[in-house]
Each structure stands twice: as structure tokens, then as C-alpha cells.
């Protein structure tokens, strides 16, 4: 008996040794909790100041997504559907989708809608991540500057707000995404425009508290600033006020909106009075640019005028010679400038410029300028004029209007041949920044708000400031200072000041004059346009999104 027990004892020793081994494996719950190698996962990221900087940079990076902001938002959705521009291109069969934007008959499957919707929401996601993650860095990185971290969060709020603003401006009520969505939240209905506006207002007010003025960023002038946030907030109040005034009570899409002119005026004036910005060329200064010596208004839109004191918020563009898809250039020159030139060195043969000539200005826009307004020739060329464009090697050559349906080309976004064609081709984009908010807009926003409040003196002062700069840029004494102001004056002033800057369609919608204007003017090719009130104020949502929402996301009536 005893022997048997001893035998077992030695076995038990061996066994217990092994069981200890098992236990050491099974007891550690961390055994399966291994960390990714050479690939940061978000749980292990957002720990340092550098991570915060990189997170916010990615959100800004979406402004450079090829063609989204410049060609799509500004040209295709901002100008072509309005009375300012037509589809253009080679002929009416060229890029039928652009012709459709002009005729107000775009398809819901239009890829440009998906691109704009998708890119803006991607930026919103990156902002949501930054807003969620960056505050925690104060704990994980004691060397990080807490003030700078707060500023990064405020920048994210501004970027989220501007993306949300353009989403509502283009699509109306869209899903409200104020946090990183879980996989069960991907199907969302539209929020009211007002609900999104509330989020924009909250984001911007919080950002205003924290962001430095533009000059506070040192060389990094491309970042969101206190001035930019205030200007955007003023613009949002202006939009809300016009929507409330012109659609309130009639159209459910604008439910809950009220006229907030005073708030709009207040924030615009704060920007104007901040001393950070000035109307470039208001004293008749001349500037050097690739075009040679130019007036202030012309200068603003050259790459030399990037981040001048005119710019309140500019999308930073850069010509790096990168491949299409990665390029951080401005593609407005590519899409919008003259398609052909006359090669005077080669028997006046018509030669392609490498640009495509879409979104050509209308005769109506040309005529809207007062005769002698220097802004017209700084913005476009008309057949019969003596203007020259720069082509390869820096040669100056005449434009060819053979293929131009309106016989007018926009020149505001032209780039020099050195910046553009000589740097490896059109797709690589041009270097001049996309001016999303200029100080002249803030003046005109203020003028409009003041006018609506009955403060006509103020309105007159602000509109005359913009006209004064224009006048000082030329030699004709035009446009002269107004002695009295009407809403029509403000409307016309915005049109000529901001031609080819993508503001017109949203403006005529909010003023409630789109149907009257557009239905009266067929396209150059004779296609009638029918702006249906209650439908065309906003573009349709991408069909893909509607399909993926399990019936939650519904098109507005008519689409």
C-alpha cells in the first residue's frame, strides 16, 4: 500500500509542475492582448502633441481631395447651376454631367455628388476623432502644450463646422454626425438644416473662444483662426436669416430658422474691426506677380497673392508635381480656363492649352459689371478683346474662342505656365490657394445684414468700401461710391465681386430669386431651364447613400 502512495507522489510532483505551466498560460488574460507592430492603432495613437498635430492635419487634408472643393463645390455646384456660368467644354456633348448641372437636371447617381458628400463627411470623421482624442493627450503627454492642444480641438471644430456648412448649403438637411459613428449608426435620416446650424453655431462659438487671430499662427497662416470662425458664423447667420425671411413658414426644410441679422452683423464687424485683414489694393497699390505688375484685385487670385491680408480662410494649395490623386493643387485652372490658344509662332494654328474650359461665364455676368469696372477684366476675357494668356515657356498668346459657347473664359484662376503646364501637366493642379472666405465677403455680409436691420448708413459704408477697392484698382473711376443702397445693389455687388468663386447659386437660392432668374434665361444652346421652387434649392443626395440607408435617408420632394 505504502509503495503505491509513494509512487503517486512522484507523479504528482511532475504533474503539478506541468499544471503550473498550464496555469501560467490560462491565468493571464493579456495573453491574447498583443499589440500591432509597425502600424499604429488608434488606441495606441493620439498620445502626444505630434499625434494631435497629425490628426488635425488629416482633417485639413480633405480640403485637398482632388477636385472636391475647387472644381466640384465651387464650379460645378456653385456657379454652373446659376446664371453666372454654363457647362462649356468642347461642345454640348462634352461632360454631359456638367451640362446637366447647368440645365438643373443632374442624376442622383452623379459621381460628383458622391465625391462631395463623401469627402466632406470624411473630413467630419477626422474632426470627430480629433475632438474626441486630443483632450486626452494632456494626460498622456506632459510635455505637450495644453494651450496648443485646445487650439487643435478648436481647429477641428472649425473644420467640422465649415464642412457641415457646405453640406447643408449643397444638400440641405443631412445626417447629423457629431461623433465617431458605431457600426449600428451608419443608417441615419436627414437632420433639419437648423439642427446642423445649431451644431455649426456651437462649434464656431467654442472655436472663437480658443482660436488665435490669424496673425497669432505665425507662418502657419493656413490654419483656422478666430477671424475665420467669426466670418463663417456671420455667413451662417446671414444664410439662416435669408432662409427664414424667404422660405420661413412656407417650406418645411427651413423649419425653426429665424432672422438673426444682428448676430450676423456683429460677427462680421468684429472681423472687419480686428485689424487682421484689409481689402488688398484699396489705396491703389500695385503688386508684383507672375503676370508682372498688377492691381490689388488681380493680385489676390495669383499664387503670389496667397495668404495676403485679403484672405480670411483659404484652402492651402501647393504644386509638388505629385501624381493625380495625391496632388494638393487647385484644379480650377484645369477645369475652367481657356481650352485653346492661337499659336502665333505656328501660322496661328489653334492649339490646346491643356485646360478644359468648363464653367464658362455667361454674357449676363459680363454685362452685370458696370462699364469700366476693373474687376471684369481681372476675372474674365471676352472674344474680341486683346487679352493674352501665358503658355509653355512663358510665351504670351491670344485666346481662341472657337470652341467657347459663351465666347467668354474665366481667367480668375489662371496659373502661370511655370506653375502649371511646365510642371508636368494639368492634373497636378495649380498652386494658388482656393479663397473660401475673403474680407470683401465679410464687408458685403455686413452690408447686407445692416441693410436688413435698416441700418442703411452702415450698409452704405460697407458696400462702398468694396466698391472703393475696385475703383482704386483701375483708372476709370468706376465703380463710383453709392449714395444710397438697395438690396439689388448688394445682390449685384456680390455677383461681380465673387464671379467664378462659387457663391452665386447659393446666394440666389437664399434670396429666393433663383426661379425668376434662371427660368427666364435658357442656356446658350437653347435648352430651357426650369428651377422648381421646393426642389432645386438643394442638390439630390447621392443615390448610393439613399440606397444604403434602409429607407431612413429620403430625397427631398421632386428628386
Amino acid at each position: 500500500m505504502k509503495k503505491v502512495i509513494i509512487m503517486k507522489k512522484s507523479k504528482m510532483k511532475y504533474l503539478s509542475f506541468l499544471l503550473l505551466g498550464i496555469a501560467s498560460f490560462s491565468c493571464t488574460s493579456e495573453f491574447l492582448d498583443v499589440k500591432p507592430q509597425a502600424a499604429e492603432n488608434s488606441a495606441a495613437f493620439y498620445l502626444t502633441q505630434e499625434h494631435a498635430d497629425q490628426a488635425i492635419t488629416a482633417a485639413y487634408g480633405m480640403f485637398n481631395n482632388v477636385a472636391t472643393w475647387d472644381a466640384n463645390i465651387i464650379q460645378r455646384l456653385g456657379d454652373i447651376p446659376s446664371d453666372d456660368a454654363e457647362g462649356g467644354g468642347e461642345d454640348i456633348s462634352d461632360c454631359p454631367n456638367l451640362q446637366d448641372f447647368c440645365r438643373l437636371t443632374p442624376l442622383t447617381t452623379e459621381p460628383i455628388f458622391s465625391d462631395v458628400f463623401g469627402t466632406l463627411y470624411r473630413a467630419v470623421l477626422f474632426c470627430n476623432i480629433a475632438i474626441d482624442e486630443i483632450p486626452g493627450i494632456k494626460e498622456t503627454d506632459k510635455t505637450a502644450d495644453p494651450v496648443l492642444l485646445d487650439q487643435r480641438v478648436a481647429e477641428a471644430k472649425f473644420v467640422r463646422a465649415i464642412n457641415n456648412f457646405y453640406l447643408t448649403m449643397i444638400f440641405g438637411g443631412v445626417p447629423l454626425v457629431d461623433h465617431v459613428l458605431g457600426s449600428d449608426e451608419y443608417a441615419q435620416p436627414r437632420a433639419e438644416i437648423k439642427e446642423i446650424y445649431d451644431l455649426i453655431e456651437k462649434d464656431l462659438k467654442e472655436a472663437i473662444e480658443v482660436l488665435p487671430e490669424r496673425s497669432g499662427w505665425g507662418t502657419e497662416v493656413g490654419r483656422a483662426s478666430k477671424g475665420a470662425a467669426k466670418a463663417l458664423l456671420a455667413r451662417m447667420y446671414l444664410f439662416e436669416s435669408s432662409y427664414a425671411k424667404n422660405y420661413g413658414g412656407k417650406d418645411d426644410r427651413f423649419k425653426g430658422m429665424t432672422e438673426r441679422w444682428a448676430e450676423s452683423l456683429k460677427y462680421s464687424e468684429e472681423v472687419i474691426n480686428s485689424g487682421e485683414y484689409e481689402l488688398i489694393g484699396i489705396n491703389g497699390e500695385k503688386y508684383n506677380s507672375w503676370r508682372g505688375e498688377v492691381n490689388g484685385y488681380r493680385y489676390i487670385f495669383t499664387s503670389d497673392g496667397d495668404n495676403s491680408k485679403e484672405g480670411v480662410f483659404e484652402i492651402q494649395c501647393i504644386q509638388e508635381g505629385l501624381a493625380y490623386g495625391n496632388a494638393r493643387g487647385n484644379s480650377l485652372a484645369q477645369w475652367g480656363c481657356s481650352r485653346y490658344f492661337i499659336d502665333t509662332d505656328k501660322d496661328n494654328t489653334v492649339t490646346t492649352t491643356g485646360m478644359w474650359g468648363f464653367g464658362v461665364p455667361t454674357q449676363g455676368l459680363w454685362d452685370a459689371f458696370e462699364t469700366g469696372d476693373p474687376r471684369r477684366d481681372a476675372s474674365m476675357v471676352h472674344e474680341g478683346g486683346n487679352d493674352l494668356m501665358q503658355t509653355s515657356g512663358g510665351r504670351w498668346v491670344p485666346y481662341s474662342f472657337d470652341k467657347c459657347i459663351t465666347k467668354i473664359y474665366a481667367t480668375k484662376w489662371e496659373a502661370s505656365s511655370a506653375e502649371f503646364k511646365d510642371k508636368g501637366g494639368p492634373w497636378h493642379g495649380a498652386p494658388q490657394n482656393v479663397r473660401l472666405i475673403r474680407i470683401s465677403e465679410v464687408y458685403l455680409n455686413a452690408a447686407e445684414a445692416a441693410f436688413m436691420l435698416g441700418q442703411t448708413d452702415k450698409a452704405l459704408t460697407y458696400i462702398n468700401k468694396v466698391r472703393e477697392r475696385a475703383r482704386m484698382c483701375g483708372t476709370t473711376g468706376v465703380p463710383a461710391a453709392l449714395t444710397s443702397v438697395t438690396l439689388a445693389d448688394i445682390i449685384r455687388e456680390r455677383r461681380v465681386e465673387f464671379s467664378s468663386e462659387g457663391k452665386r447659386f447659393a446666394d440666389i437660392v437664399r434670396w429666393g430669386i433663383a426661379a425668376d432668374l434662371l427660368n427666364a434665361i435658357p442656356t446658350v444652346d437653347g435648352f430651357p431651364r426650369e428651377f422648381v421652387v421646393g426642389k432645386h434649392e438643394f442638390q439630390p443626395l447621392p443615390k448610393r447613400e439613399v440606397d444604403l440607408s434602409n429607407g431612413k435617408l429620403v430625397q427631398y420632394q421632386g428628386w
Partner: protein
């Protein structure tokens, strides 16, 4: 204290030893005393040997029938016992047929035992244990090592090919060292079908195993058997057990063969005359005629220039032996596979030491140590499977008017600038080496009767490296390399596996047999790699080719990179086997698996299964049927998992991408970091549910066997990227992965075997075949379009309600001819007997194939709208076979043995991608012979007919409309029957060989891939190496070879 313990231990060991001794003594005494009681008996002696090999069989039980008296043969097969004249001796041994011999007046009885090939009492490995084959309730196919060792086999995949019903093995190509795609019971996930491979209890790599070391292979096909491997068993499990030494005389075994490889088949190409005429036709739009005199041109055969006869060699040496305490097996092998294309050699060298030690009655341990070295030359795998670079395509396309080399041995330059494929092949100077070391240590402790504990620890280290030198050369104005560079890289992989389990077996109340097992397993792996490039090497001398010997130190052209990965798995598992009276069988498995690839909430998954069996022939009412020997009905149901994921798909991984950058000052960009893919923290295992109904029967004393299975396998929760609303922020990035997709496979498997084990002529005939119906039930996206060759893409469509990866394209209905009515519309002559659409406003007709000309393919207007669009695409067939089968014959007559083995598929289609090159509508590449007969019109240049009219043909004209659209022309029947192996051997009679000290000498000769019956016009109907989403697309793979071989097995 410590010393005391040690002392205790020592004493206990001594006492234990003594106790054992006394116990043995008692047993012996009892034995003697009972022997003394039978006075009339005398001693009978003899030797028991194996009938086939004449080798002595140790351990055979010899008993006097009807008594408990008996003996066991010793190492040399000798036995000795007491018996009387009237007694009958019964010889029995596992794996052999029982034999009875009357004693009579003999005092020496030597018997030869025949192997029980059916092996019903054979023990099969089932994962963390073994089970008698007759008691199996799951679907398990078993291949014995014996079967593998008689013919040349290069890898485990080849060993399994066609051997097991329901196991479809498709070699990736004929290139040496490439593995195979394995599909067990169909395709249950588009993420891959690779089964779990377990070598001696631990997950391993089939390609790093010497086939000569294999004792047996078991394939666990159904969920009830594979569920013990839980989350990794979803695609089936291949269990490989390696050989071990046997107690007894030391045995040295040598196996060597040599084979001569030639490419199977050859693509018939145009000759120089036909080629020049084609070039003229391609040129037709250009003004100048070509300055060639076609009749005098010589045709050069590029396939002959590139595909050379190659030699395969294999040497396998093993030494084994041992005693009652320790047994060992040492083996080493060298395998060189014939490379019919230069610079594509492959070789594998292996060393294995397996040993087992019985320390005492209750403690056994074993260790298995292996070293494997493989060397592979030339282009990487992806290169051979890429239609754009694939050298085979370039061989087909080469200019037949120029030879490979000129008289000076330089590459020729085609006057039409068609690439010379030998440039790339000659200049490829890359070698990939892999060295793996593995140690596998196991302990088995018998705690008490029926209860044992087993533990295994396995560690692996694999060091892979590559070195490539890109020399300076000039082949043509467009093909040259002006800077030489050196690329070198290393990868280090490490892993360990630790497993422990306890087995208990008991019988309660005589009839209730229960065995239970519980255990755990944990493993962890990690790897990292580093690689670098330098240009401008100081010398091209191989001894100088190291990264330090670069003469160029410019930063931006030097590159160093590297990354790492890590992963861990853990599992708990258990099994209960129960049988009542050996008649009613039940097995229940459960496994709980955890993986680091899934998030904390879904890290663990449970995988239960059960199976029941009924040996109905054990029932009284069946006993009266003499024809039926055994019969068993099985049913099983279970759940397994598949995890095609490595990495961390549950985590939101942030990336630095070019598009995330931004500039804030207009001068320099700053780095941006963001998630590129939205994470899905709730991602979990793919879950595969399978039920299986099986029947096993043997007839006529086990001479005929039949096994049939029906199964239904459904993958629920296949991992796919889900189309996600852009509000999630997915635009421009990757959609999140979700468990949303389901594929079902329903099928049958039948295995029939007949064998004759007695007489001079013995042998067996085996047939297995299976069929699977595959259907995609749900998908996270509408459909998945995939696959492409050159300018035809996509080729396959995976959609709900159909099998995976169907070929999808236009249906050709015929050919437009010169007799077709035409009409001039604008400047065009349009053929009018075809569908058209009408413009509602203008009333104008638009014909479907507006640009069609005589000789063009006529497409079917499937939706009847008169327009040719995606909506006219139809299912052109499935790459999945309706039936796969294998058939083998093994015969032995006296010293001769003969084996032949066929396998094949029926009912699958192949997208013949090589037609893309053989009927290429553009350029000056050479084309297939059949294209010489294409439809064409006469072309005259400068009064000379350079292209002859050919209207009487069914080969479509040179036209992009036909040859660049996915259509029925490219899809062919892929059914085939291939004589995989045929072999004749002769074993020198033992009586002769033993005189010179040789136990066994067998010489053999045979052929592999001797012939293939197929209607397929491409090089090889076995199309492997494709993504599941583009199955069956033949881009023109490295040809398979037919090999004539001879060899010898020598044992002494």
C-alpha cells in the same frame, strides 16, 4: 529540507523499481506454474514475418485458440510456446489479418501475415488522441505512409491528390516548389480554403516536410471531427503523423530516384509566314508595306528555346531502431525538382530525428527535431501568377522570325520590337532561402489505469532570406539596365505552441465504454523582417555582393525597410467518446478558441459538435447475412470557425497617407494621420456549420468496402467588406469588415475499394468521387466582380443565389458574315440583321453592334433592348467541378508490384486566359496557330497580296470587339482525366537479397503525368493559384511536367 525531498524522491524511485521487479517476477511464476499444469504439451517455435516484405514482425500475439495461453513475438519475430497436437495457434497483430494454424506434429511453425489493407482495426489520429477506425463517427479520410512511399512524391499535397473523396487539390502551377490549393468539401469562404495542417500535433507547413517521413495522413472533413480544432478547423484539418523507429534490429533504408521532366503539351503557334501576314494585317492602316519576303523566312520555336528537359532527383536515407526503452528514427532527404525553365530551380533538404523513450511504466516522452532548408531560384510567386509579367506569356508572344540568341550568343532584337523572353529569364539572379528549425517535445504520463496526461511543447524558428543581384545589361534600346543593384532581405519568424490534455478511458458495467479528454492549447507567433537595396556595386563577383560594397552613397536611391507582426491564440477543448457495447457510438466535442485578431468583446468563440454512430452489423438480425462483414451508419453536426484574418481588423489602425498631408504655410506639407479603414470592434470568427450523414460498409470478409457521405456545410458570417454609407467617413478609404456573407456547400462523397490479400496475385482497386453544389446565400455587397487577363476584365462574378466566381460575360451567338445585309448610315456601312434600338424622339435606329464587320462575333441581346451593355452579360459557366474523382490500382504478383493512379474533374469550366495572347487583337506579338485561320479580307500593297482572303472559317477576325470583351469564346470545358502516376516495381526475393545482407531491395520505374484526356485547349486544365473570387482563370501558368523516373528502395 531540500536534500530531504531529494532523498525521498530517490528512495521512492528505488522502491518503485524494486516493486516492479517483484511484480514481474510474480507474473512469470504464475506463467510457469500454469505451463507446468499442461503436461502433454511441447514447445512450438517459429518466426512471424510480413507476407509482402518478409520482414520479421515483433509484437505479434500468438495464442492457443480457446485458451489464455500465449506468447508475443520478440524483436526478430520469434515466438515460443507450449502446445499440443490438437491445438490451433492463432496469430494476430494490429493491421494484419488473423491467421490460424493447426499444430499437428510440427514443432516449428513460421507464418507470414498478410496486411489487413482495409484496416478496420487500424488506429487513426483524430486530434489530441487516436481512435479505432471502426469506431469513428465523423468523416475522416486516411492515407497511409505505405501508400506514399512506393512512388515518387514531392510534397504532402501531391500525396493527398485524388486519394481522399471530397479533397480537391489543385497545384498552383508546374513550377518547382510551388504548393497547391486545397479545397476540402467545396469553398466555404471567399477568403480562402486552406485547411489547417497539423504535423505531429502542432500546426505546420506541408511544404517543409519530407514525404518519406510520413507515417499517415488523416483528413478531418466534417465539423464533428474537425470541431476539436474549433475556430481554425472550418476548412477541414489535415493531420500528418511522422514515422517512428521500432524496437528491434537497426534498419537502414535508402530510397532514391531520378526523373526526367518535360513540359506537358506545347502551344501551337503561328509560323513565320503566318506571323508576317498577321503583322501586315495589323499594319493595314499604315501606309508603308513591310519589307519582308515571307516565303524565305525561317520559323524559330521559342518554346523549344525556353522549355528544356530537366532532371528531378530525390535521395532519402533513414536509420531507425531501438529497444524496449528507446526507439529512434533519423532521416535525411534531398529533393531536387526538375525546372524546365532556367533559373527556376528548387530544392529541399531535410533532417529529422524522432525518438521516444519509455522511462518507466508510467512516463513516456518523445522528441522530434527537424531542420529544413529550401532554396528557390528566380522570380517570385506573384510574378508567375501575374498576367502582365508572366514569362510564359512572353514566350508565347515572342517573334518567331528571330531566334533566341544570335550567332554571338547575344539576345536577338525583334524587328517589330517584340520582347525577347530570355532576357528576363537569363538575367534573373535571385535566390530565396528558408531555414527552419523545429523542436517538438511531448510527455505522456499514465496516472492510473485508463487515465493519462499528455503535454507537448513545440518551438519553431524560421529564417528566410533572399538575395537578388540586378546586373548591368543591354538587350535592346528599350530593355536594359544601366545601374546594377543588390537587394537583400531577411525575415525571422518564431512561434511556440504549448498544449496539455488529460484522457480518461473506462468501461462501466461491461457495456458502457467511455473515454473523455480535456485540454488546453496556447500559441504565439511573431516575425520581423528587414531588407535593403543598394545600387552601383563595386563588383559583380558573387563574393563581393554585399550591401556594404556599394560605391554610391546618395541617400535617395538607397533604401532600407522592415516591419513586424505578432499574434496569439489560445484554446480550451474537450471530448467525450461513448459507446454502448461497441454498437452505439457517440462523440461530443467542444472547443473554446481565442485569437488576438479579434476585439476583446469577440475574442472568444465556442465550437461544439456531436456525432453518433450505429454499427448495425453488430445487431443480431444482421448476423445472418454472410456477404456483409461490417456496417456502420454515422451522423454528425457541428460548428467550426475560419479566421482568414491576420493583423488587427477589429482595431482602428491609423495610417499616414499622402492624401492626409496638408500645408499650412504654402511651402512644406505636414504629415497627417487618420484611420484608412473604419474598424469593426464586433468582428468575429467566420462560423461554419456542417452536418454529415455517412455509411461505411464492408462486404465479403472485408474484401470490398464502401463508404458514402452526404454533407451540408454553411458558412455563416463570412468576413467581407461592407458597403457603408459615406457618413461613416469611408469615402476614399476602405469599407469596414463585417461578418456578413454566407456560402453553402452541399455534397456527397463515395469511396469504393476492393482488395485481394491472399494468393500470389494480391492487390487493390480504389475509386473515390465526390460532388459539391456551391451557392452564395448572402453577401455584404451586391456582387463581387473580380479577375482579369491582359485586356479582359472582370472575368468572374460572385453573387447571391449562384456558385462563387461564375464566369460572367457576353454570349456569342455566331459570326457576322460577308453575306449579311448592310446599310450605309452616315459614313458607315452597318450590318443590319442584328438587334437595334430606336431613338424615341428622332425615330432613328441604332444597331447593337454598330461597328460590326464580317468576321466579328455576334453577341446575344439577352435583355432584348437592342443595346449591348452589362445587362447582356450572362453566366458562362462555373469554375467549380461537378465531380472530382481519383482512381487507383495496386497489384502485386510474386516480386512484382504495379500501380496506376488517375484523377480528374468533370463539369468545370476554365476561362482560357492564354487565348488573350493567342488571339490578341493588337500589336506584333505572335499568336496561336488557330488564329492563322482567322476571317480576313485580302490586302494588297504595292500590287502584292500581303494578306490573303479567308472567309470560309469560324475563327473571328482580328478585332478588339471580340477578343477584349469577356465572352463565351474564352470559356472552355475544363474536365480532364489524368494518369497521374504509373509505376512498375520489382522486389528481389528475400532469399536472394538476404544472402548479401540486404533485407529488401526494390527497383522501380514509372512515369508521372503520362497522359491527360481533356477538351481544354490551354496548356494545363489544372488551374491553380487564383484568388477565390477569380477561380479558374488560366493566365498561362508555368507548365506541368511529365516525368519518366526510375529508382530503388533499399533496406538493410
Amino acid at each position: 529540507m531540500k536534500e530531504n525531498r531529494l532523498f525521498d524522491y530517490f528512495v521512492s524511485r528505488q522502491i518503485f523499481k524494486r516493486a516492479t521487479f517483484i511484480l514481474m517476477l510474480c507474473l512469470l511464476i504464475t506463467g510457469f506454474s500454469s505451463a507446468q499444469a499442461q503436461q502433454t504439451k511441447r514447445t512450438v517455435k517459429g518466426v512471424v514475418t510480413d507476407q509482402k516484405s518478409s520482414t520479421p514482425l515483433p509484437g505479434v500475439t500468438v495464442i492457443v485458440k480457446g485458451t489464455t495461453l500465449g506468447a508475443i513475438t520478440d524483436i526478430d519475430g520469434n515466438y515460443s510456446l507450449a502446445a499440443s497436437d490438437k491445438d490451433v495457434l492463432e496469430f494476430s497483430f494490429i493491421g494484419y489479418l488473423k491467421k490460424e494454424v493447426k499444430v499437428g506434429d510440427q514443432s516449428s511453425i513460421s507464418v507470414k501475415l498478410a496486411e489487413d489493407v482495409v484496416g478496420l482495426d487500424e488506429v487513426v489520429v483524430t486530434g489530441y488522441g487516436v481512435q479505432k477506425k471502426s469506431d469513428l463517427t465523423g468523416a475522416v479520410s486516411s492515407v497511409s505512409g505505405e501508400k506514399l512511399s512506393s512512388v515518387p512524391i514531392m510534397n504532402v499535397e501531391q500525396a493527398l491528390q485524388g486519394q481522399a473523396a471530397g479533397v480537391n487539390i489543385i497545384p498552383k502551377s508546374g513550377r518547382p516548389g510551388e504548393g497547391a490549393d486545397i479545397q476540402i468539401r467545396g469553398i466555404s469562404s471567399i477568403n480562402g480554403t486552406a485547411p489547417l495542417v497539423i504535423i505531429d500535433g502542432v500546426a505546420g507547413d506541408m511544404n517543409k516536410l519530407n514525404p518519406g517521413d510520413i507515417a499517415s495522413i488523416e483528413v478531418l472533413k466534417d465539423a464533428s471531427s474537425a470541431a476539436i480544432y474549433g475556430a481554425t478547423g472550418g476548412n477541414g484539418v489535415v493531420l500528418v503523423t511522422t514515422k517512428n523507429g521500432k524496437a528491434g534490429k537497426m534498419k537502414v533504408s535508402v530510397n532514391a530516384y531520378r526523373g526526367y521532366d518535360n513540359a506537358v503539351g506545347k502551344i501551337e503557334l503561328m509560323n513565320a509566314q503566318e506571323y508576317i501576314e498577321l503583322c501586315e494585317e495589323v499594319e493595314a492602316t499604315k501606309k508603308k508595306p513591310l519589307n519582308y519576303q515571307p516565303d524565305t523566312l525561317k520559323t524559330y520555336d521559342w518554346q523549344d528555346a525556353v522549355f528544356k528537359q530537366a532532371v528531378s532527383e530525390n535521395y532519402d536515407l533513414s536509420i531507425s531502431g531501438g529497444n524496449e526503452v528507446s526507439t529512434f528514427l533519423f532521416s535525411t532527404s534531398l529533393d531536387k525538382q526538375g525546372a524546365i525553365i532556367k533559373n527556376t530551380d528548387y530544392q529541399r533538404f531535410t533532417i529529422r530525428i524522432n525518438s521516444e523513450h519509455k522511462v518507466n511504466k508510467w512516463l513516456t516522452f518523445d522528441e522530434k527535431v527537424t531542420f529544413v532548408n529550401t532554396q528557390k531560384e528566380g522570380f517570385d510567386d506573384w510574378y508567375w501568377h501575374n498576367y502582365y509579367n508572366n514569362p510564359i506569356v512572353n514566350v508565347i508572344s515572342a517573334d518567331p522570325t528571330t531566334p533566341a540568341y544570335d550567332e554571338n550568343g547575344k539576345w536577338t532584337i525583334s524587328p517589330r520590337n517584340v520582347g525577347n523572353p530570355l532576357v528576363a529569364l537569363d538575367m534573373k539572379d535571385k535566390i530565396d532561402k528558408s531555414n527552419s528549425f523545429e523542436g517538438n517535445f511531448g510527455v505522456k504520463i499514465n496516472l492510473f489505469k485508463g487515465f493519462y496526461y499528455q503535454s507537448r511543447f513545440n518551438g519553431k524558428l524560421q529564417l528566410d532570406d533572399y538575395k537578388e543581384y540586378q546586373a548591368i545589361y543591354w538587350a535592346s534600346p528599350t530593355v536594359y539596365n544601366t545601374n546594377d543593384d543588390l537587394l537583400q532581405g531577411m525575415t525571422k519568424r518564431m512561434s511556440y505552441n504549448f498544449q496539455n490534455f488529460i484522457n480518461y478511458q473506462t468501461t462501466i458495467a461491461q457495456n458502457h465504454n467511455i473515454s473523455a479528454m480535456v485540454g488546453m492549447e496556447a500559441s504565439k507567433w511573431w516575425d520581423y523582417d528587414i531588407s535593403g537595396t543598394r545600387i552601383d556595386m563595386a563588383s559583380s563577383d558573387p563574393n563581393m555582393l554585399y550591401l556594404s560594397k556599394s560605391t554610391n552613397s546618395t541617400d535617395d536611391i538607397q533604401n532600407v525597410t522592415g516591419t513586424g507582426h505578432i499574434g496569439a491564440n489560445a484554446a480550451y477543448f474537450g471530448r467525450i467518446n461513448y459507446d454502448y457495447d461497441g454498437k452505439y457510438l457517440l462523440t461530443v466535442n467542444v472547443r473554446r478558441d481565442g485569437s488576438s485578431s479579434f476585439g476583446p468583446n469577440n475574442r472568444w468563440g465556442n465550437f461544439p459538435s456531436f456525432s453518433v454512430g450505429w454499427k448495425f452489423t453488430e445487431e443480431e438480425f444482421m448476423k445472418g447475412i454472410p456477404a456483409i462483414s461490417t456496417g456502420k451508419l454515422r451522423f454528425g453536426y457541428g460548428q467550426t470557425g475560419a479566421n482568414a484574418r491576420t493583423g488587427f481588423p477589429y482595431l482602428s489602425t491609423v495610417l499616414t497617407r499622402e492624401v492626409f498631408r496638408y500645408t499650412f504655410d504654402g511651402l512644406a506639407t505636414q504629415v497627417g494621420t487618420a484611420p484608412n479603414q473604419i474598424a469593426n470592434p464586433s468582428l468575429h470568427w467566420e462560423s461554419i456549420n456542417m452536418s454529415n450523414l455517412g455509411l461505411d460498409m464492408t462486404f465479403f470478409e472485408n474484401r470490398l468496402s464502401l463508404s458514402a457521405d452526404l454533407f451540408n456545410k454553411v458558412n455563416d458570417g463570412m468576413i467581407l467588406q461592407k458597403e457603408t454609407s459615406a457618413i461613416a467617413g469611408t469615402y476614399g478609404g476602405e469599407n469596414p469588415e463585417v461578418n456578413f456573407g454566407s456560402i453553402s456547400n452541399k455534397g456527397y462523397e463515395i469511396t469504393i475499394g476492393a482488395r485481394k490479400n491472399d494468393g500470389d496475385l494480391t492487390g487493390s482497386v480504389d475509386l473515390n468521387f465526390s460532388g459539391v453544389w456551391n451557392e452564395v446565400l448572402t453577401l455584404a455587397t451586391d456582387s463581387i466582380k473580380f479577375g482579369g487577363v491582359h485586356n479582359v476584365s472582370p472575368t468572374n462574378l460572385t453573387r447571391m443565389g449562384a456558385p462563387v466566381a461564375q464566369f460572367w460575360g457576353y454570349q456569342i451567338e455566331g459570326m457576322f458574315s460577308a453575306d449579311d445585309p448592310t446599310e450605309v448610315i452616315g459614313k458607315r456601312t452597318v450590318i443590319t440583321n442584328q438587334p437595334y434600338s430606336i431613338n424615341e424622339t428622332t425615330g432613328a435606329k441604332t444597331y447593337m453592334q454598330l461597328n460590326a464587320r464580317p468576321g466579328d462575333a455576334k453577341y446575344k441581346d439577352v435583355n432584348g433592348d437592342g443595346k449591348l451593355s452589362d445587362k447582356d452579360n450572362v453566366n458562362l459557366g462555373s469554375p467549380l467541378p461537378k465531380i472530382t474523382f481519383g482512381f487507383s490500382v495496386n497489384l502485386q504478383y510474386k516480386g512484382f508490384d504495379f500501380s496506376a493512379f488517375f484523377n480528374g474533374t468533370y463539369g468545370n469550366k476554365i476561362m482560357n486566359g492564354s487565348k488573350q495572347y493567342l488571339y490578341n487583337p493588337v500589336g506584333y506579338a505572335n499568336r496561336g496557330k488557330a488564329f492563322a485561320d482567322r476571317y480576313r479580307d485580302e490586302i494588297v500593297k504595292d500590287g502584292v497580296v500581303v494578306v490573303h482572303e479567308n472567309h470560309d472559317t469560324d475563327v473571328y477576325r482580328l478585332s478588339a470587339d471580340t477578343y477584349t470583351k469577356m465572352n463565351s469564346f474564352f470559356v472552355e470545358d475544363g474536365s480532364f482525366l489524368r494518369l497521374r502516376n504509373i509505376c512498375l516495381g520489382y522486389t528481389i526475393p528475400g532469399s536472394v537479397s538476404q544472402k548479401v545482407g540486404i533485407e529488401k531491395l526494390r527497383v522501380y520505374a514509372g512515369a508521372r503525368n503520362l497522359f491527360t484526356l481533356t477538351k481544354y485547349t490551354g496548356l494545363n486544365p489544372e488551374v491553380g493559384g487564383n484568388d477565390i473570387r477569380s477561380l479558374g482563370v488560366d493566365i498561362g501558368l508555368y507548365p506541368v511536367t511529365s516525368m519518366m523516373y526510375f529508382g530503388a528502395n533499399l533496406v538493410f
